[in-house]
Amino acid sequence: MSLLAISDLTVRFGEAKAVSGLSMQVEPGEIVAVTGESGSGKSMTALAIMGLLPKAARADGRIELDGQELLSLPEPELCKMRGRAMGMVFQEPMTALNPVQTIRDQVAETILVHGAGSRAEARTRAAEMLDRVGLPQDRFPLNRYPHQLSGGQRQRVVIAMAIALRPRLLIADEPTTALDVTTQARILDLLKGLVDEFGMGLVMITHDLAVVSDMADRIVVMRHGEVMEQGPTARIIAERRHPYTRALFEASDHAVDLPPAPPPGPMLELRDVVRDYRLPRRKLFEPARHMRAVDGVSLTINRGERVGLVGESGCGKSTLTRAILGLEEVQGGSITLDGEPVFTGHRPNLSARRKMQVVFQDPYGSFNPRHRVGRLITEPFHLLPSPPKGADRDRAIARALSDVGLTPADADRYIHEFSGGQRQRIAIARALIIEPELIVFDEAVSALDVSVRAQILDLIADLCRKRPLGYLFISHDLSVVRSVTDRVLVMKSGRIVEEGRTETVFDSPAHPYTRTLIEAAPRLPDLDRSAAHAT
């Protein structure tokens, strides 16, 4: 008998089906990955197993855990199973913990709420569990609060809570999506180790095919609430029988056809840039303390050059970006664009500013919802000494929208009428409209599904073919940086630790930190080789 057997599960919101006719099994000690793009119903499947679906949802079918049917179980019985027979780990470690309780109390609560021990026993067990997930007491005192821990450490606490009673089934919903690559690798190792040690079944919900092929014994590929294909990982990757599976893998491994870079000529130059932040005083009359976020960075971006910047959160890449864009003043060194400083006196220098534009990560948050697209994308016009008006303005809007694959008619629509991928196109149109020499892409494709991401990357390559376009592409995703840049910079603790041609850096990294990053990044197996192997 399987540990978890789902047959013909359907989740409805009114008439709409979020999941339809899903069937799958999980054996003890097995890792099953449920994968697919946003809206595929993978998270709803996880919530249906836990019995934590939103109120408006209705689930039909059968979900059996160790032979016990869950869907028909009354709520009090389900409460007894959650945390004891099945545990769950969520995507956002930053918000998944109660901010006003210590980590020990939150882990101990799992034990206490199921009456599995006295308060003292629960606390001892909590300490053991925290130690097991890599938070030993001597370095992480048990009375820490969540805000005193990093994202990866918080995710370890959530895992400790979920496994405190050694449930038979663990569900992890995008457990590492919000984390850095090296942290991700450690958390995935931890999960794998726990599955082996406890003989748990693990249902892993993730959109990241590289993680899937690294971890899972079996894969379930979902789309629009339906299962496209499922089977052993090796076979699915080798055969990719279903066209959607094939499309997903190709999009994940998308190689962009970049035109050759124009001959070098310096455009953006940074010399020994230093950015300090003031820290609050710890004592009343102590001299102010500073945190050096960017520490003596020098770099050059040539005209029409495509440069990548990689590094983990907190390494200073966002601070550096803000300094380059002239949004914040630096405390040392110089930043010039075409020989002009981006900051003069204590104000941004507009004539340098208008040669740069930026595209941000979040396609949902970076637009004013009350303006039409035409107004949104012409915002950079305020940087120009004499912005185009009337017919010229309309022509500029039409050209920018057509350049990114939209139609001029879209100028009259509002931003909520567009999908995430289309919004990112609009963000690019907004950056292009004043024909800047440099565009900064700040994690610009990180929030997108793989297939949409592939389209946006193609669009960027396409724009490079039409006219010389230099950009700084900031991302934590090494595979994307590899495909769209000529040169790459690796940043750690405010310094550039390595730079060089993208191929060279990725194939033979010189700095140990670059090696760590590349090794930690989950990789898709070589698709051609695994296909050849299968036949």
């Binding site: 836990m50 934590l52 945390g83 545990g87 109660n98 006003v100 609560e109 809570m161 979920a162």
Partner: protein, 315 residues
């Protein structure tokens, strides 16, 4: 925690200094010479000048400010122009009515609001929630003096459980004094409780949508357990803010209720002083109220830190 408290204390002192300067300046700017007010319109110029010298009104402003502050620090608030009695004495009589009344009303309002807000949040959208929300709507809309009159009608005139007005003083015994304050406290508390219950409910509902509630449910907590153990404490911050604001209002804003129940409170004192242009009394009472409000805010700040560990260790 200690550093946080000291910081708040420092900001308390600064606020008091700023407030005293503002109050002093405003009273100075208001037209009307206190000496002329005392002597009336037909006073002879030399008498007026003599009185001005006697009252210290011919001294430079900074010196008079320093005198005023030093006096208050020693408990000397000056002498009322209309009643010719020390202001300190008048205020001391009144504060022993207003302060207990405000605390009594605040306790009642919290005791009503917390269960009502939590009950409504736990039953979001169901009959219980709608009932509580309807009642609070009514509580917010109906003025407190109307409640006061209804309470007098039922509990004082018909049932004769409580006196209909007046205050016997604390010398007559604790229970007797409390009995006299009960109906006014209820009348003051009801509208405040209605506001507080609505804040409690909406703050709780925000918390119930947080990720950590889902985490708690995945651990096996029932809906109710998750609400009590994880949502309530997190929901307290906005509620504490409102409680702080309400206390300030209850202390001085109870003037209509004091009028309805014939209570000799601060509200009535300040109303009479303004009518009589007794600026010395106004100045002192306003400064006293500001002092109490700032101290209450300090207490609220400490309560924040007790509830939320991020404030203790943060900056």
């Amino acid at each position: 925690m200690l550093r946080y408290a000291l910081k708040r204390l420092l900001s308390l002192v600064v606020s008091l200094i700023v407030a005293s300067i503002v109050i002093f300046a405003v009273i100075e700017v208001i037209p009307g010479d206190p000496a002329a007010l005392i002597l009336g319109v037909n006073a002879r110029p030399d008498t007026l000048a003599a009185l001005r010298t006697e009252m210290g009104l011919d001294q430079p402003l900074p010196l008079r400010y320093a005198d005023w502050v030093w006096g208050m620090l020693r408990g000397d608030f000056g002498t009322s122009i209309t009643y010719k009695t020390p202001v300190a004495e008048m205020v001391a009589d009144r504060i022993w009515v207003s302060l207990p009344l405000a605390i009594y009303a605040l306790c009642l309002s919290t005791l009503i609001a917390f269960p009502a807000g939590i009950y409504a949040a736990a039953r979001r959208g169901r009959a219980g929630d709608l009932g509580v929300m309807g009642a609070t709507q009514l509580g917010v809309a109906v003025p407190n003096f109307w409640f006061a009159m209804i309470l007098v009608l039922i509990f004082a005139i018909n049932l004769r459980w409580f006196p209909s007005g007046g205050f016997p003083g604390w010398d007559e015994g604790f229970w007797k004094a409390m009995k006299a304050l009960t109906l006014p406290a209820i009348a003051l508390a009801l509208p405040q409780a209605a506001i507080l219950a609505r804040v409690m409910r909406s703050s709780l509902l925000d918390m119930l949508d947080e990720d950590f509630i889902r985490t708690a449910r995945a651990k096996g907590l029932s809906r109710r357990q998750a609400l009590w153990r994880h949502a309530v404490r997190n929901a307290l911050i906005p509620v504490l803010t409102i409680i702080g604001l309400q206390f300030a209002f209850l202390l001085a804003g109870g003037i209509i209720i004091e009028q309805v129940f014939f209570l000799p409170g601060l509200g009535r004192l300040i109303f009479q002083a303004i009518s009589a242009r007794d600026l010395i009394v106004v100045e002192s009472v306003v400064m006293l109220l500001v002092f109490v409000v700032i101290v209450v805010n300090f207490a609220v700040d400490l309560a924040y830190a007790a509830v939320d560990p991020r404030l203790r260790t943060g900056r």
